[in-house]
């Protein structure tokens, strides 16, 4: 490249001097890459250690424009680095490998790579890599505007549909860009605009953010209000806005994996976007995600909070569960965390039981989103060992119209869960005991959290416990537990699953929660068979739950950022409960779910995570519960619907009665799980876990 290039031309100047960070453990390749990049007139920094690279990036997010990384590295998997960078720093990442296996390429894309190059790397290819930086910046701006518009919409009412539409649009847009889009640049706007000092979204900050969003409700979360709630100095509305955007994208991303499924669901009538959102919620839910706090941030990015619910057609359907697949994945440090990574897949309506494969069928433990979509990108979630069905995607169908179950990737929620499978079990116990569990159990899952930074994990576990618990109790109490759990677990994909199922059950089902779910699934059947996870019609309840949940949870699991989730969350419960005809399993699980959802709300007050457990347990059994409860609670419609539910949600789930009443009501509404319930935060559901 000659020096004359771009000289004196502001436009062209950009590629010149672009700051690239190259990571490759092979010294030969690294040297070659460095020389090639220098020849392209980029500013190159190299390192052979992924960890060192991360450190450099974290030190100063503004230091680099682009990262090129090898796939196979000894100290850290290239895909993991990719995710982390995308989430935390929102930088474009290019993967490099000698292996041209399409599966790997696909994996790269689903993890957010903006390009995948083959070794030996050639000059021609490197000459064009600057386009990824420009593209990302442009989209960031675009999305930001888009977001602002959305925010306005959010103001004031649950215009789920509107949101959904917007979301959908955004989602569609984003889909084209793969994950890239999700990671809209944080602060950087046009190359031409001056770079403002980047705000570092620490775990603490993010947690506050999530809490605020949860409190407001994912749909109604607008930067100004969030900012006020957060009450942090030196944080501008713009910071919050862009972070929120990312969060939503993250949620969306989580659900992107399940996109296809989501699409199907969407076809059902729900807006995908909402669905996606749900998923993303999940992802976000994890702020606690084991991985790094940063991770959350990233996760959030993809969460498109609002629309998630939209998926289900009815905003209520938010099952956003576990979306965090994309974002969540990072749960990284958590050893087991339900791979939020899966979240993505989870979202897909995957209810599939994440890790365990339990797939609740409806409950895509977001971790394992695989179910819904054969783990594409779901890698994240896998972390959730919690097995608990990590991916309880509850498809909470608002019960409205079609059971579009949004398989919210509760998976993501699971992330947190994975680690503590035990916890859930504990909770399960409670559930079994009955009713009390409602409150507590659900969250016992949450307790699991302790380990997991992310609530998710707990959820994951919760799910398990819930499912079992659910079974035992089979009632609302369980459901509550689950709900609670969900809330907390919102992030935990696994939890979500369970919770979702439970939620699904809850919504609108009769007191026998379990059974109610079955009905729901049927509805869900419309939607894609699998994913459909039966949108837990957690409706009305969820909303309330969600609302409550956040509060409740905060107490409980601060760690879980569930609060956020709880708000959102229920939606994240996208457990996709495959309706295949096996409504019954779902039914059963759903019931608990319903309860949970409802619980979630209440469980906020009580115990957030506990509640979910019971249900989750149930779900596990249900397996198919893959309900995607798109707990579109965000939209609020979920909650809105609830009729009586509101009452019980108000904390303490303990009131099984409430649940019952709610459930009954739901029945009346529609069997389908009202998203509301789930919606409340599908996140919460997840987080519950």
């Amino acid at each position: 490249m000659t020096v004359e290039q771009g000289i004196g031309q502001p436009r062209d100047q950009f590629p010149i001097g672009m700051r690239v960070l190259a990571v490759d453990d092979d010294p030969t390749c690294l040297l070659l890459l460095e020389t090639l990049l220098r020849r392209c007139q980029y500013h190159v920094t190299t390192t052979s250690q992924a960890i060192a690279a991360l450190k450099m990036l974290r030190e100063n997010k503004n230091k680099f424009d682009l990262v090129i990384s090898d796939v196979h590295m000894p100290d850290m998997d290239g895909f993991k680095l990719l995710e982390l960078v995308g989430l935390e720093m929102d930088l474009p990442v290019i993967m490099l490998s000698a292996n041209s296996d399409p599966k790997l390429v696909m994996k790269g894309i689903s993890h957010g790579a903006c390009d995948y190059l083959l070794k030996p790397v050639r000059m021609e290819e490197l000459k064009n890599i600057w386009q990824h930086v420009i593209r990302r910046r442009k989209f960031n701006n675009k999305d930001r505007n888009h977001f602002d518009n959305q925010d306005k919409l959010h103001h004031g009412s649950s215009e789920a549909t509107a949101d959904q539409k917007l979301n959908k649009k955004r989602k569609d847009q984003n889909e084209d860009e793969d994950e890239d889009r999700d990671d809209n640049e944080h602060e950087n706007e046009d190359p031409t605009t001056q770079k403002k000092p980047r705000v570092v979204w620490s775990v603490e900050l993010h947690r506050k953010f999530v809490a605020a969003v949860n409190q407001l409700g994912i749909d109604k979360a607008v930067p100004k209000k969030i900012l006020d709630l957060m009450n942090v100095e030196k944080l501008t509305r713009e910071n919050v806005a862009s972070h929120l955007q990312k969060y939503r994208l993250y949620l969306k991303r989580i659900s992107t994996v399940a996109n296809q499924q989501a699409n199907m669901v969407a076809a059902l009538g729900s807006t995908d976007s909402s669905y996606l959102q749900m998923s993303s919620v999940n992802g976000l839910g994890f702020p606690n995600l084991a991985g790094t706090g940063q991770f959350h941030n990233a996760a959030f990015r993809s969460l498109p909070p609002s629309g998630m619910l939209g998926r289900l057609n009815s905003p209520a359907a938010l099952g956003m569960c576990g979306l965090p697949s994309s974002g969540v994945i990072q749960i990284g440090p958590l050893p087991t965390p339900g791979h939020l990574t899966n979240c993505q897949s989870q979202f897909q309506s995957i209810v599939h039981t994440g890790n365990d494969g339990n797939v609740l069928q409806g409950m895509p433990m977001s971790l394992e989103v695989d179910q819904i979509q054969p783990n594409k990108g779901v890698t994240y979630i896998r972390e959730l060992p919690t097995d608990v069905n990590n991916t309880t995607t509850f498809s909470v169908s608002n019960g409205f119209q079609d059971a579009k179950i949004m398989a919210s990737s509760s998976n993501s929620a699971f992330l947190g869960v994975s680690n503590k499978p035990l916890m859930l079990e504990g909770s399960v116990q409670e559930v079994q005991d009955g009713r009390q569990f409602g409150k507590q159990s659900s969250l016992t899952v949450a307790s699991l959290d302790s380990g997991f930074s992310s609530n998710f994990l707990d959820h994951g576990r919760c799910n398990d416990s819930w499912s079992s618990a659910v079974q035992s109790t089979g009632d609302q109490s369980n459901s509550f537990g689950i709900n609670d759990c969900f809330k907390q677990a919102t992030l935990l994909p696994s939890n979500i699953r369970d919770s979702m199922s439970t939620m699904a059950l809850q919504s609108g089902n009769n007191p026998s929660q379990v059974s109610s779910i079955s009905t729901v699934p049927i509805h869900l059947q419309d939607s894609k068979a699998d994913l459909q996870c039966q949108i837990a019609s957690i409706r009305s309840n969820t909303r309330q739950i969600i609302n409550n949940a956040p509060q409740g949870w905060d107490d409980q699991s601060q760690r879980r950022d569930a609060t956020y989730h709880s708000n959102a969350e229920c939606s994240s419960i996208n457990s996709v409960i495959p309706n295949h005809g096996t409504g019954s399993p779902m039914g059963q699980s759903l019931d608990p779910n319903n309860a949970i959802f409802q619980k979630t709300k209440s469980f906020n007050s009580t115990r957030q995570s506990d509640i979910v457990d019971p249900f989750l347990l149930k779900h596990n059994e249900v397996d198919n519960l893959a309900m995607e409860t798109l707990m579109s609670s965000n939209d609020g419609y979920v909650i809105g619907q609830q009729k009586p539910q509101g009452s019980y949600f108000s904390n303490n789930f303990g009131s099984l009665d409430d649940l019952e009443s709610v459930m009954v009501k739901q029945e009346q509404d529609k069997v389908t799980i009202t998203e509301e319930e789930f919606g409340f935060g599908s996140y919460s559901l997840r987080t519950c876990m």
Partner: protein
């Protein structure tokens, strides 16, 4: 001998390497990257490659001595080796790497060992040829050489070419 001629000879001397399939166009790219600012780039890269690949070869040998064979590990090691070999354009070596990996995937221990032997041979040959090539280049490098020196260099080149042709 004239400078041009020397250069031409140098260029020619490496032609057999290409013709015989030892090197591919990636090597050309390396050469293109060499310029005044980076005069010994190719040699640097190749030296780095030798060092790194020696290490890898050792690791693979050790892994091959284990019983039972850990094919996964072997595959990973070989993947790395393949990556760096392809970066410098070591065509034949790269091909042997592919064979090796196929054997790994098939779980064919015997095949792996056999392929690896072959690979080592190719690697040794390439190394020898490249070293000779660099020597020639050194001789042909622009410098304040006397005519006599250049003559000698020219003769060396010719001899090299002849030997290569054989």
């Amino acid at each position: 001998m004239e400078r041009n001629q020397l250069h031409r000879l140098v260029a020619l001397s490496r032609q057999p390497l290409f013709d015989q399939g030892f090197l591919d166009e990636q090597f050309l790219q390396l050469e293109e990257l060499q310029d005044d600012a980076n005069p010994n780039f190719v040699e640097e890269v190749v030296t780095l490659y030798y060092r790194d690949s020696a290490r890898l070869i050792l690791n693979i040998e050790q892994a091959l001595e284990r019983n039972p064979l850990d094919f996964n590990k072997l595959d990973i090691l070989m993947h790395q080796f393949k990556g760096s070999s392809s970066s410098i354009g070591a065509k034949k070596v790269k091909a042997e790497c592919t064979f090796f990996r196929e054997n790994c995937r098939a779980g064919n221990g015997e095949g792996c060992i056999r392929t690896f032997q072959q690979l080592k041979k190719e690697y040794a040959t390439l190394r020898k040829k490249l070293e000779a090539y660099f020597q020639l280049r050194l001789h042909a490098a622009p410098s304040e050489k006397s005519v006599a020196e250049e003559e000698m260099a020219g003769i060396h080149l010719k001899m090299f070419l002849v030997s290569e042709a054989l």
